[in-house]
Amino acid sequence: MNAIVPAGVSAAAFLDRYASRAGTNPVRDRAADMLRRAGLPRSGVEAWKYTSLRALGDVPFAAAPGTPDDAAVHAIVTGAEQAFALDGAMPRAVFVNGRFDPSRSSLPDGVSVGRFQALDEESDDEPAADVASALNAILAEDGLLLRVAPGVDAGRLLLLSVGAGADGTPISFHPRHRIELGQGAALSVLDLSVGQGAYLNNPVFDIAVGDGARLGHAKMQAEAAGAQHLAVVHAEIGAGGLYDSFTLTLGAALARHEVHVRLAAPGAVVHVNGAQLLDGRQHADLTSVITHAAPDCNSRQTVKNVLSGHARGVFQGKILVERVAQKTDGYQMNQALLLSETAEIDAKPELEIYADDVRCSHGATVGALDPDQLFYLRSRGIVEHEARAILVKAFLHDAVDLIGDEILRATLDRAVESWWNRKDA
């Protein structure tokens, strides 16, 4: 194995951790093998054209300590509750440094809840071919296994990830969650990650939405400024099912949210919407691959980037329509707003279509705030920074407004508002 020179950045530190851990199995071995060969991608690999994981290869991330500092965790949780005005009554599953924390969690009725260990034994699946999933596969220790029985509306759930990084020794954690909705079931998940210090959060979600089921998944990534966030969602949607997802990216120095959705049966619908609000030297990447694998499916995607400082936003969205997927309706829109001279956007909206009776379109725009609109507001007596705030919020509102669940929508709206106020201050 020493003879293999990876194509990308060496993942040696992670692989060493895998070699010394308990709980190896053939699935994980294959993932390790892939990482050993491919390494962590640097920009240049087509799927990672605009995002390099070079920075990760340089850092010897350690496993999270067994018992994190309780006071620090408490401070982070209450901070998040206040910042985002979280509803205290909402059932919640709290993960601290990637491990389930039962004392802070209260799970909803009507769902069967398990832990990742069980999943690990059951699963014979090949690890997905993407790097972030492979990294998760070799180091995952815990995660939520959530099953909603057919016909049950399980209401809302807050899935809170707390990263308590100790300064000096960066840690990494790799939770693996699985959410399964039976036929006609419903659930809304508010997926919030917060933290402090230096850490890498590498969550992977395996999602199965049954026939006619509805899953809302509103994600707010508000990691610590020094953190890295590498998330992957694999979702499969059954006939007439809906996966309504939204990803709001606010935090982390380096972030990538990667979504792979498969519309597996007729009438399946997916929304892969999102917004990035970035500042400083943040780099955030939203990559999605939506596969239409059955006729009469519908996919919708609106992604907005608001970039200031030296921030760099990346959007790579692919709609793949397989030969069988006649009558597909696919729509994809990416709009970026550059608020500074030094911000950068890289967008690659992609259509790959093999069926003829389809309607697919995509659009992309990049620009600054429209001076005419600013002038209009100024001429009505609104001061400059307020006028800018109105325009930026209106720009973002188009996307956030697409979240189906009203409570989750209101939460994300507030997050956008407070982000702007913080920036504006």
């Binding site: 956007i345 890289d346 379109s361 995509h362 725009t365 990049v366």
Partner: protein, 496 residues
Amino acid sequence: MPAIAETRDAVESLGQSTYKWGFETDIEMDLAPKGLNEDTIRLISRRKEEPEWLLGWRLKAFQAWQAMAEPTWAKVSHPPIDFQDAHYYAAPKKKAGPKSLDEVDPELLRTYEKLGIPLHEQALLAGVELPEGQEARAPIAVDAVFDSVSVVTTFRETLAKAGVIFCPISEAVRDHPELVRRYLGSVVPVSDNFYAALNSAVFTDGSFVYVPRGVRCPMELSTYFRINARNTGQFERTLIVVEDGASVSYLEGCTAPMRDENQLHAAVVELVAMDDASIKYSTVQNWYPGDENGRGGIYNFVTKRGACRGARSKISWTQVETGSAITWKYPSCILQGDGAVGEFYSVAVTNNHQQADTGTKMIHLGRNTRSTIIAKTISAGQSDSTYRGLVRMMPKASGARNFTQCDSLLIGDRCGAHTVPYIESRNMTAKVEHEATTSKISEDQLFYCRQRGLSEEDAVGLIVNGFCKDVLKELPMEFAVEAQKLLQISLEGSVG
């Protein structure tokens, strides 16, 4: 839709007999031995009586090429190419170079006659002496390239009077070495990419155009490329330099015989536009696309790039791509001068087993630079067609503007149409807009046409032409007429 299926079957049974340019000219050829090594390059250079600097330049390119790998990012697939299994030099045997048409091998002249390429200046100029049934045309100066060499260039005297240089590039190397040396490889460096490096090492001929300051080229210039010999590749090199305030319109056409084996065509085109200069470059690419089973056809791996060096310069690419088994081509503009304008208008049609991965790059460097991209993609049969385009706004490109529109039309359910735009902006005042759609021919439109008595075939032709109108109207008139016919022919056998 049984009607469509029936028509499709009926036309498919006709096979690929619609490629009427597929004949072969029987002519004595001077071939270099098969294979590619330094000796081949020295031989080409010697045959062309080139100066030492050009040989050195070629060898440098060859070294770069040897260290490079074939690009794999394009959405095309083909068996590995054996670059040693081809002749890199093929020229019709001749005595001393022909000085006038009378000295050109009559077999060659007949070839171009068959292709409909006007090589007879007088007949064209007189206008009245044309044979019956032939329309009078505006004069066009033509450089005809047959396999590796240019056989004849027309209207050179008329052009010379205006100060325009239009000649085979091998001749320009001899007569205008200072110009060629200054600009050759200045837009596409020898080590730019795998195929450009290959071309730089072995290019045999092509056209050279130089339009001096303030001159509006008095007629359209045209190059007609013809691959004829077996087991050869064609590697032509075109260099167009337009000085301050000058302008030129340049047309390019190409065909090849029908053969079962694949042939390689790896051209490089470099355009340079100085202050207020304008270049319009139009291509109708009709290389042999292979038969209905995907056998044979040209591999068309082409690097085309224009540098808008001067302020307010303009480069406009228009292409109609109907031929080739594989097309890999991205005519690009580097918008350096403030206020420079780049345009790309493209129609790409694939049928049967053709694969096309084509698009453009617009690199905005200067302030207030503008670019427009209109790409229409039509896929039929079992073909795959990809639009791949890059728009990049660099930090200094304040006030730059891009508009891109890509539309794909799918005919039949066994083909693919793909759109892969790359948008990169590092300037907040630059504006980029991109939109793309994919659909099939609307039943309503088809019904409307059929109801008014048009046959299914005519209806599809009409709709496809309408779909491509934004691009076709950019072509010089004569080319537009030819392109329209070509579209219809290319799509025959795919649908009614």
